[in-house]
Amino acid sequence: MGHASSLGHWCGAVGLKDPGIAAMMELGLDVRRVVFVPHPRAMWADAVAELLDGVDLLFVCPPSRVPHGAARRLMARAKERKSVLLVRTNDTRQWPVPPEATIVLERSSWQGAGQGDGRLAARRVTVSGESRRGTRGGTHALWLPALSGAVTTVEQ
């Protein structure tokens, strides 16, 4: 999202309740080009559909389980508009249609805080990816964020 918005693309976030805007800015997001709909209530699917018309990249947190038909329609809309739809779920059953690609956050650990000293400085995460066609993207270690504040791969 950071990269897209800095290139002048608009982004949206639907259902993201308590966004840490300062953190978004630190990760390079140009928040002037982000439309937030934190509490769409019963209109979740409508809000997503509407924003897919307006932005290039949409990050959404579904309320609970998205009905099969709605999920299919939203994916078709994203495809038609050539927008990217990122869905964050805690449980794969929340989004019943197989997505083009899935990224799973496997592990996460914060570094830098001690017993009163230091600070939360960098977070090392392990992610794995898989495409719908079954191509495995393998497992990768990333700094999210690194000490510099950016997202980088972990040098082995």
Binding site: A23, G54, Q115, L120
Partner: protein, 366 residues
């Protein structure tokens, strides 16, 4: 009971159509701060500070009053207000002394209060009843037996009774708790001279996004569709706020990224989740006793467990950083606030705040 000076600027005590009262009040506080660093805003147009130190320094209470009036006189015209000063024991007494522009001699506050009408308590029901009972002054009210007052007027009545008897200095309702926030909101940089005018459309993408956002606002309500606006403060939730898309505030936004450190602000990275309504957290040491922040700004014990909210989700604490005291604004000088980062045994990074003698879950770094 502490002797206090109260300064009252009636002309800026209520917000008028021009809405510049809070700004004038902030200026007034800044002027008073030059004379006394402990000046505190009480409500719009009313400030107070303990008189003991300044009185010793400036050679008596009369000199302090004269000095303050001299400091403020040049601003009377611009603020469209006169300045009333009074000194007495306790905030309630000092406020009433200011109303009458009086310095009540030490030890005479109670007898001064007893001459005042019962209506000064601003409790209409209690006042009406007392007047009907033939008790028109605070002195009459004060002479009632405490248990009878409690029985007849409830706990608030008993509190008023203690204030009238000079047993308590501060009447509930004098302070406006929102005044700190209102002053804080003034603390914004002026709008920049030139800024990108993304609203209204500078490119096709901007127009497309604007149209979609407006359509959505039409369906969900203006408040539901928001954009970020940078704000300057210590906490992540004070550093950016969401405002309705297309609002005036959005157009005035100064979202250019700042690299200069903001004094007292927390270390980066900032939490990715910042709770709008923080829950309370209980932090405990190995023996299960609560961990707090001492008056010296240190943790009172080693935190090993934390429990969040009413549902008491509990986790072990494996690492922590801080606490960091907040470089609070001078009128918060007596309020103690600090921040602590913790890492739980499930790998979560959390931001806690210690305020009002409690821990609060302010944000999450995951």
């Amino acid at each position: 009971m502490e002797r206090l000076v109260v300064l009252w600027a009636p002309g800026i005590s209520t917000e008028g159509p021009r809405g510049d009262e809070a700004r004038f009040f902030a200026e007034m506080l800044a002027i008073l701060h030059e004379r006394c660093p402990f000046v505190e805003p009480i409500r719009l147009g009313v400030a107070a500070f303990p008189v003991r130190g300044p009185s010793r320094f400036f050679g008596g209470e009369e000199s302090v009053v004269a000095l303050l009036l001299e400091d403020l006189a040049p601003f009377a015209e611009r603020f469209r207000s006169e300045f009333l000063v009074g000194i007495a024991e306790g905030l309630f007494g000092a406020l009433l002394a200011a109303r009458g522009e009086k310095i009540i001699p030490n030890g005479h506050t109670v007898s001064f209060l007893h001459t005042l009408p019962i209506t000064t308590l601003r409790r209409p029901e209690l006042s009406v009843l007392c007047q009907r009972l033939g008790l028109p002054t605070l002195g009459h009210f004060a002479s009632l037996p405490p248990d009878r007052v409690l029985e007849r007027f409830g706990t608030d009545g008993a509190h008023c009774h203690r204030v009238a008897r000079g047993e308590e200095g501060e009447l509930v309702g004098i302070r406006d708790p929102s005044i700190h926030t209102r002053l804080h909101l003034l603390d914004e940089p002026p709008p920049p001279v030139a800024q990108p005018t993304f609203f209204g459309g500078t490119s096709l993408a901007d127009e497309r996004a604007t149209r979609a956002a407006l359509r959505l606002q039409h369906r969900l309500g203006a408040e539901a569709v928001q954009v970020a606006r940078e704000h300057f403060g210590h906490d992540p939730n004070e550093r950016a706020v969401l405002v309705p898309f297309g609002s005036q505030e959005q157009d005035r936004s100064t979202l250019a990224r700042r690299t200069a450190p903001w004094p007292g602000r927390l270390p980066t990275p900032s939490p990715t989740v910042v709770f709008d309504s923080p829950q309370t957290v209980r932090l405990r040491d190995p023996a299960g006793a609560p961990v707090r922040v001492s008056s010296r700004g240190l943790l009172t014990a080693v935190p090993t467990r934390c429990a969040m909210g009413q549902g008491s989700r509990e986790a072990g604490v494996v690492a922590w950083a801080g606490p960091w005291p907040l470089a609070t604004r001078w009128w918060d000088a007596r309020r103690f606030r600090s921040r602590l980062q913790i890492v739980t045994d499930s790998g979560e990074g959390l931001l806690l705040g210690f305020e009002q003698s409690q821990w609060w879950l302010l944000g999450s770094y995951d």
